[in-house]
């Protein structure tokens, strides 16, 4: 049973069309990667789901219900949370304050709270009173993920978790992702870095120029097919 679906989802920036009809499904407990070159529409797709861009009411369904007309804060309450590209932490707040803000409008029950987020990222507990701007890039990414988890989402939307991070930090972040998955959270993972995305994904969609150019299970997708789906060559 799909927990999140889009049907012919289109999105625009002004009259610049960024998505040309994306049909997509995410099952409960599943991790799905969205891959593709820059400009393919991956981040736009997440923003449209999260309610940060205008979209058609029936183009996004969550738990069988049309959510395309809902504002972003209502969507968070339903159990969909975005970890935005570039972290976007509240720079005037401490680590813990950033996490607490994430619980605003939280869904009632669920596994995530300050204690469990700190168990997932122990370094954040050590640095709980530190200003978010004083953290390393990897630690900031952990705060961004933790902040999203604090709303106890059923679906976590992750935008470019590995961007600008050292390989060893990326490994830690992806290890945490496996943990999050264990808790039953479904994940949509936007990544340019194929190796990491494919290592955790149950399925993948490749986008090109705002359209789905390829989809399937990672082991069924050959490198040649992915290359073609990235560049249209």
């Amino acid at each position: 049973m799909a927990v999140l679906e889009t049907h012919e989802l289109t999105a625009f920036y002004g009259d610049f069309q960024a998505l040309f009809g994306i049909t997509f499904a995410l099952d409960e407990g599943e991790t799905v990667a969205i891959i593709g070159a820059n400009g393919a529409g991956k981040s736009t797709f997440l923003k449209a789901i999260a309610g940060l861009l205008p979209r058609q009411a029936a183009a996004v369904r969550f738990d069988g219900r049309d959510i395309g007309a809902l504002p972003a804060y209502e969507i968070v309450k339903l159990g969909l949370s975005l970890v935005p590209e570039g972290r976007r932490l509240f720079s005037s707040l401490s680590v813990e304050e950033n996490l607490v803000v994430g619980a605003y409008g939280r869904r009632g029950e669920g596994p995530w709270n300050l204690a469990t987020v700190y168990r997932l990222f122990p370094i954040l507990e050590e640095r709980r009173h530190t200003s978010s701007t004083a953290l390393s890039g990897g630690q900031q990414q952990m705060v961004a993920i933790g902040r999203s988890l604090m709303s106890n989402p059923r679906v976590l939307l992750c935008d470019e978790l590995s961007l600008g991070l050292a390989p060893i930090v990326i490994r830690d972040i992806y290890a945490a992702l496996a943990d999050i998955k264990q808790h039953g959270t479904s994940v949509v993972l936007v990544e340019q870095d194929l190796v990491h995305a494919m290592s955790v994904a149950d399925r993948a969609y490749c986008f090109m120029e705002g359209r789905v150019s390829l989809s399937g299970r990672p082991r069924e997708l050959s490198r040649d097919a992915i290359h073609a789906a990235y560049f249209g060559l």
Binding site: D15, F16, G39, R223
Partner: protein, 238 residues
Amino acid sequence: MILTLDNLTRSFGSLKAVDGVGLEVAAGEALGIIGPNGAGKTTLFNLITGLLRPDAGAIRFDGRDITQASPRARCTAGIGRSFQIPHPFENLTVFENLLVAAIHGRRQREAQVVDACGVILERTGLIGFANRRAGTLNLLGRKRLELARALAGSPRLLLLDEIAGGLTEAECSELVELVQAIKQSGVTIVWIEHIVHALVAVVSRLVVLNFGRKIIEGEPRSVMASAEVSEIYMGIAA
């Protein structure tokens, strides 16, 4: 060579946006530039057109060192460009927008450029929109106008910055045909574009930038099939 970049370098604070880039473009050639976001592509154009000055390196256009020349001098010397985000004069008509570009780009009087502007409007498919306010154009119209304004200065070198995004397939093919026609007319083209198949339909050589550096250049299809491109775009070795 109509354009030569020699060890061009430009930093913003501690970020080296363009890092020792060397490049030669032959007259009449069409060259494509690709690279991830932040690779330094637009900064490179800003250096070539003089909107930014390099920290090091030199730019030669048509045998002349233009490294210290003003943007206006470069424009009148024959370098035209389109911007990634078109900013026409919204309250002027399409034709008036073109006149402004032609008068200033060629340093000629209005009477001398009117005919040329009409020709450009025809070539770019805008003749039917000549008297429309530029602010009322849709995306394809604005992209065409951006191209038309760049052509109005009658450039010998045309720099195109991401003109194919956000279009339908039919619109994209139309745009490709237009760029092909501009190339056929003898204008040298350097084109930054994410839509690789559009680029490959026009250019005979492709350069890949990443983190400000030139990573690889060569025949487009072999560049796209290279290990470097797979590594940069997909994080895997081919």
